[in-house]
Symmetry: C2
Subunit: 519 residues, 2 copies
């Protein structure tokens, strides 16, 4: 019988006694022991678990055994594993059936709390409505393969040599023309740099070739630069946004300042109130992520004015700009002032996140620095995929795919709106008809319990509050972020039905009581 | 007529007067003016040029004009552009015909010096013998496309969703079996992490998701780890190696310690003499890069002993392990002790650097940390290419391609050896019959002039001394690094002929005198 008293320090809060008793494998015994420790409160929510190797050494079991046990409990939702913060006891867990043999009794589910950030649900829920991905089943395999055949057959031999870090000229040409036509950008191929996605773009600007502090295109003070600010200056972001992007800036030691958010989008006028220079402002003008409104035309003009007057830079994250369902999409802010906007897009929403291609449309004075930050040669983005995407765009098949997906997602959004109107008329869908997600506004105080109830019912989705910048003054109303592109086509109606079942009733107050904790 | 007195500071050594006179465009005038400044010594070799924007502002020309002028002069070899160190006057330049109109006279070529590091010749030389790339014309387009068709047709829908940062299981399975069969590694798919190449692997270990300091899998002190050393400890490297790899470690603030190098490879016994712990040792055991010997069997054993005894780690860079021409390749050191070796390979030499795929075979205790350093989702490596490569390997077409290239490169190496024996018998080819490059040993003191002569004759290649670690005690004999895989098949014989013409004669001493500098 192996035992362990896990040391406290920065990991678990106090010494922990794990007893690997009972039948079956050591893995099963360890899973039972950890589950029990969570259940009876010895491992509190949020507690960091010891590294595999330490626990393995303490228990005298193989590291694999511990890794497997953690993985199983992550899959079951008892634990969460997140980059940089290790494995922790889940803050909000979807209850699982306790293993009948666990300590000889049927354990109650652990006390649940609301996750502070998007849970990135590792276990496969019955219905996945987590935002962030397109319908994986709609990838245009045949069109992609045909484009690959044309592109690789036509490519010159040098395409298979070391690549230009700026990206293949074929793709940059295709993008310059496509983006001008579809998103109203003003650029030429020389001012486009190919990257692997928005996160890579952020790293190239602020963190060097891929992460960490220092080395990015905007990282040095440059007295002669048109950017008057420098390295120590903060970057303004929207009050609600992707925590992942803030993390990249944090890792590059760039301070972020949240701008307020209202029905007209980011309150860019607050830039004037910031004491000291602001290096750049990161915006999602076409479709604020995640709250769902467009940036008001007056504010589009105001932020460009700010950039011109203060030598600042606008980072335009056009993550889903091709998907607007009620009208033509509003053009990119980049078109208003190409010298003050870094426009960033990718195929992650329009095609697939499995194709690691994005693009930066840069002010002329930043091209050299961004290419330099990327490296001497193309070290990241597949040249074969670049050539294929160029052909897909030039041949019109990319447009065709986007049109097809636009229809599909519009139908899905309409279905969501109609179903809610019928079954939950007190819940409104906010934001414009666009993109791959919608925000459902909930009665005040019900978000936490709704997320909890959804998890119980096997519906994976996120609360709006998880996207809030920790220092933001803005508090959006309670809401659910519903990724309606995520489920497979055949499972969509069932997912929305399941969603309707877990929405709070019209006048419900929050019922934040879990079952009794200790058995 | 625009003029500029470029300020000194950290860029040019003293005020510089550039006069944009003469006919033609401003670009042409600026090119002439810069060339003249290099020719008459006002811009000394190594001098850093001002950023585009500053010079553009000073001269009152468009930044594009400056960028174009720099690019042209880089292409002509007068300037070099390198990430992180800006544009500089070349240390070793291949002289160009001075433009007849330049300052009204035919200018002499600038005084040349030997490049301290590989020049990465940006202009297209007549014959490219720079090491580092496979024959781009031999990329197996049809086999790749067929594999892509099979792979993308068979892939489950979830393959087009967000990817596992460890890499597709199909590829990891294919690699585990392929590497065991061909390179003698011992692993299973769970201990393989897919990356974009060796540089990415180094960053994941030492620098986090892609560069900069901190965040890598080996970056934290971990008292319980099997690695006894920690963040502040240096990494031992071979006395000769890729400066690019050292730069990545430098950027991650990892100190490198050069190990001596002799006819038996890296002198790993020197690890015992280092005061204080060494975190890891970076080796190229199958084929030392660039000097070309294998690591002696006794030293293979000794370095594994060191790793076990000191809790150190061996980083095995198996960059060309599939290409051995005189016998079966020696297996990977990883096979001796999978728990103390990080084995890294890629398709950059075997297939193409345009496919950005590499792999790390990791000790069990490092898998989690490396995956965590890579990020929550696959952000770098194309999943489509991963699936295609898995099929290419499983279907046997990858083996077939490697066999075909092995024959081709062996023929090329044989041709080089035979031709030298006939035309330059005083020059020997050193190292084993392996890989994509050979080192020609030169008479003492002739390396610099040979590199210079080659550049004059339009033959791009590198001297051996450029690969030396700046603090190394080892001084290899004078030599040329000849990348015999680089030229196209139809141009290979001519490239070797041209090479023979520029080799120093049997008893030649170094003639390090350029034409008079100032006109």
């Amino acid at each position: 019988m192996a035992e362990s008293w896990v040391n406290s320090a920065e990991s678990v809060g106090r010494d922990l006694h794990l007893e690997l008793s009972g039948g079956g494998s050591r893995r099963a015994a360890l899973i039972r022991a950890l589950r029990a420790a969570v259940q009876d409160g010895r491992l509190a929510p949020g507690t960091r678990l010891p590294p595999y190797r330490s626990l393995a050494a303490d228990l005298g079991v193989a590291r694999n055994t511990v890794a497997d046990a953690y993985a199983e409990l992550v899959a079951e939702g008892w634990l969460t594993a997140r980059q940089g913060s290790g494995t922790r006891v889940a803050l909000g867990v979807s209850p699982v059936r306790a293993e009948p043999g666990a300590r000889g009794r049927t354990a109650p589910p652990p006390r649940v709390r609301v996750p502070k950030r998007s849970p990135n649900v590792p276990a496969k829920p019955a219905h996945n409505l987590v935002q962030g991905q397109p319908d994986a089943g709609s990838f245009p395999r045949a069109a992609w393969l045909a484009a690959a055949r044309r592109a690789l057959t036509a490519a010159p031999n040098e395409a298979f040599g070391p690549g230009d870090p700026q990206g293949r000229i074929e793709l940059r040409r295709a993008l310059a023309s496509y983006l001008a036509r579809v998103r109203g950008t003003r650029t030429d191929p020389d001012r486009i740099v190919v990257c692997s996605g928005f996160a890579h773009a952020l790293r190239l600007l602020f963190a060097g070739p891929g992460g960490g502090a220092g080395g990015g295109a905007l990282s040095g003070p440059s007295p002669r630069s048109r950017l008057r600010s420098n390295r120590g200056d903060p970057v303004a972001v929207e009050a609600y946004g992707l925590g992942f992007h803030r993390s990249i800036l944090d890792a590059a030691r760039v301070r972020t300042l949240p701008l307020g958010l209202d029905e007209h989008g980011a309150r860019v006028e607050e830039l004037a109130d910031v004491p000291g220079p602001v290096r750049a402002v990161l915006l999602t003008p076409a479709h604020q992520f995640p709250t769902g409104g467009p940036l008001h035309p007056a504010r589009r003009g105001a932020v460009v004015d700010w950039a011109r007057t203060h030598g600042g830079l606008i980072l335009e994250d056009d993550y889903d700009g091709e998907f607007r369902y009620d009208r033509e999409p509003v053009g990119a802010v980049q078109g208003l002032d190409p010298e003050h906007v870094v426009y960033v897009g990718s195929v992650s929403k329009s095609l697939s996140p499995a194709v690691r291609i994005g693009w930066m449309v840069l002010p002329e004075h930043l091209v050299g620095a961004v290419v330099a930050a990327k490296g001497e040669r193309e070290a990241w983005v597949s040249v074969l995929d670049q050539l294929t995407l160029a052909d897909l765009i030039d041949s019109g098949h990319y447009d065709r795919h986007v049109r097809r997906m636009r229809q599909r997602y519009r139908r899905r959004r309409d279905h969501l709106v109609t179903t809610l109107a019928e079954h939950a008329p007190h819940i409104s869908v906010t934001g414009i008809a666009a993109g791959l997600h919608a925000v459902l506004r909930l009665p005040p105080g019900t978000e936490a319990s709704a997320v909890k109830a959804a998890a119980w019912q096997g519906v994976a989705l996120e609360g709006l509050s998880g996207y809030r910048h920790p220092e933001a003054a803005t508090h959006a109303p309670d809401g659910l972020v519903v990724g309606y592109a995520t489920p497979p086509e055949h499972g969509y109606a069932a997912a929305i039905e399941a969603l309707c079942r877990v929405l709070p009733p019209a006048a419900e107050e929050e019922a934040e009581r879990g079952p009794a904790g200790d058995g």
